[in-house]
């Protein structure tokens, strides 16, 4: 059984009590039924929370851009303008839903849904903490890459179905960009998979530690370069500036979603902002130690040993610490993404392709080989252990 939220909560007494209650009620073993209910509840919570984070992402984008340009940004709706995204959402819903006359209405309808479904499906393997992960698949990161590629299909079809020249060009650019940049992204992920020795999120994170020197980022020089390759390529994959050519507003009006109005447009925007979060979360999980908290606080063992706390409460506290650690790192990267957008000018199309095929892909390949050689030469020891410990006692991180 893969570790999931259900298997985490199954350790608690309350869960067992509920199972006993339903077993008496139905007359058969209700463990899987309660797991299913719990699973549905947690999935709803995660989707709701992520939609909020996507909404707050638009707010953060406008506020940070305002800061960088010496403006105030949204400050009327709610405290500090925090509720601006809700006001925008209400406005979007009230807008008339227009389908252009010459558009392919079936594809026009399905394109934003494909984008959103692809992004939401990736949330299943995002590790928020050691207990709070919807499903720790054996092929977790690979599944994530596969699901994220649906977004490319959605953008392309959105551009095609609109039957508008701007949207068409935007969609073509989007698809070619996403296909191209998938290669450096996947190669850098592969290098870390090689380092950790597994594709499940649990394996990837448990090979790291809470302190920065135990992160994969500082494991060896190749991983350090790999992080930047991944981050640049992921920016391009999510169509963020300086790679936002599919929606280059100075040339293409608004790119692939030019013809979209109301909630359908909001779906595209929401998918983009949640995908940025997912990409940052993957960067954190792969390179920045994931949900690990220093001094093994995450397992809650220290509370049990020192204070004599109840085991489940101690575990819950540990998990909250882990969620905090994970969210802090991810949102810090989210800030960097927005920061980059408002600092750098946009690339040209040919520069975009040159960057991908002539620089990032060879560097990522070089990293892959480099990490393989490093693992073989030093038996998986990190740079830190090589410097500060004798090689004989290395390992353990």
């Amino acid at each position: 059984m893969n570790s999931t939220v259900a298997s985490y909560f199954a350790q608690s007494k309350e869960f067992q009590a509920v199972v006993v209650f339903f077993t008496d009620l139905f007359g058969f073993d209700a463990t899987s039924f309660v797991s299913f209910l719990l699973f549905g509840a947690v999935a709803t919570i995660i989707v709701g929370a992520m939609a909020t984070i996507g909404g707050l992402g638009t707010y953060a984008e406008r506020k940070i851009s305002a800061d960088l340009q010496m403006r105030h940004g949204p400050n009327r709706v709610g405290p500090y303008g925090l509720l601006q995204f809700l006001a925008d959402g209400v406005k979007m819903i009230m807008k008339e839903d227009i389908t252009p006359k010459a558009a392919d209405s079936f594809i026009f309808l399905i394109a934003p849904l494909l984008c959103l479904v692809g992004v939401f499906a990736t949330l299943a393997v995002i590790p928020y903490s050691s207990g709070f992960i919807l499903s720790d698949l054996n092929v977790g990161i690979f599944y994530l890459v596969g699901m994220a590629s649906l977004v490319g299909v959605g953008i392309f079809l959105g551009g095609y179905a609109s039957n508008s020249k701007w949207a068409m060009l935007g969609g073509m650019r989007g698809a070619s960009q996403i296909i191209s940049y998938e290669i450096p992204v996947t190669l850098s992920i592969l290098a870390i998979v090689l380092l950790a020795g597994g594709m499940s999120m649990g394996t990837l994170i448990s090979s790291q530690g809470g302190m920065p020197h135990e992160w994969n980022l500082f494991h060896n020089p190749f991983a350090f370069i790999g992080f930047f390759v991944y981050f640049i390529a992921a920016l391009a994959e999510t169509n963020r500036a300086p790679f936002d050519l599919p929606e280059a507003e100075s040339e293409l009006v608004s790119g692939y979603h030019t013809e979209y109005t109301g909630m359908r447009f909001a779906f595209f925007a929401l998918a983009e902002y949640i995908e940025v979060f997912v990409v940052c979360a993957v960067a954190v999980a792969l390179f920045l130690g994931g949900y690990k908290v220093p001094f093994e606080l995450g397992s809650g063992q220290i509370f049990i040993d020192k204070i004599g706390m109840d085991a489940m409460i101690a575990k819950n506290i540990g998990n909250f610490l882990e969620i905090g650690s994970f969210m802090t790192k991810t949102l810090a990267l989210y800030y960097v993404v927005i920061w980059v957008r408002w600092s750098l000018p946009r690339l040209r199309v040919d520069q975009l392709m040159t960057l991908c095929w002539k620089y990032l892909t060879p560097i990522a390949l070089f990293n892959l080989v480099g990490i393989a050689v490093w693992m073989w030469l030093f038996d998986g020891a990190s740079l830190f252990t090589l410097i500060f410990h004798s090689t004989g006692s290395a390992g353990g991180h």
């Binding site: 392919d104 594809i107 054996n138 092929v139 699901m147 490319g152 073509m172 597994g198």
Partner: protein
């Protein structure tokens, strides 16, 4: 029960998608139905516990092949005229009722024969319970790098050939210096 539900859903998606591809007159729509069918196949893999295959199915077919198909459909363009300037039919007829009937009958008979041959294996197939999602990645990797190394190498050479070929074709031709 959960596995059965998942199987039925995936199978319905696969078969339904495949039929929709056949019936759809619009190539772009057919591509989307094909995507649905591919997802159904990925679901089928997931049901039998082949998680790596399922993920690969999504990465390769959903991510790569469908987008390439959409691209090629779009780049080759379409026109409403079914007859080109030489008076030939551009889209060759897929057959009339007679040929379709003959082909259907032939495939039905062929399927019966194949089933007859397979029957002895199917009958003696004891449904082993689903393994508890053992990681398949490692075993696939080991088998690929040992027993099936020849197939692995041949496919890598093929891919390299395709890569070089694409680079050669897309390269701008140099004007001959005189």
């Amino acid at each position: 029960m959960f596995a059965n539900t998942l199987f039925l859903l995936s199978a319905a998606l696969t078969v339904g998608g495949a039929f929709a591809v056949l019936w759809s007159k619009n190539l772009m729509h057919a591509c989307i139905y094909l995507l649905a069918s591919f997802f159904g196949v990925a679901g089928l893999y997931a049901v039998i516990g082949a998680d790596f295959l399922a993920a690969t199915q999504m990465v390769v077919y959903a991510g790569g092949v469908v987008i390439l198909m959409l691209f090629s459909v779009m780049l080759t363009g379409g026109s409403s005229e079914k007859i080109n300037r030489f008076g030939l039919e551009k889209i060759p007829a897929m057959g009339n009722k007679k040929t379709l009937f003959a082909a259907g009958f032939a495939s039905f008979v062929a399927a019966l024969i194949v089933l007859k041959i397979l029957a002895q294996f199917i009958k003696h197939y004891d449904a082993t319970p689903m393994t508890a999602n053992l990681p398949t990645v490692e075993r696939i990797g080991v088998v690929l790098a040992t027993d099936h190394i020849l197939a692995f190498e041949i496919s890598s050479v093929l891919l390299l050939g395709a890569l070089i070929g694409a680079a050669v074709i897309s390269r701008p031709r140099r004007e001959k210096n005189d």
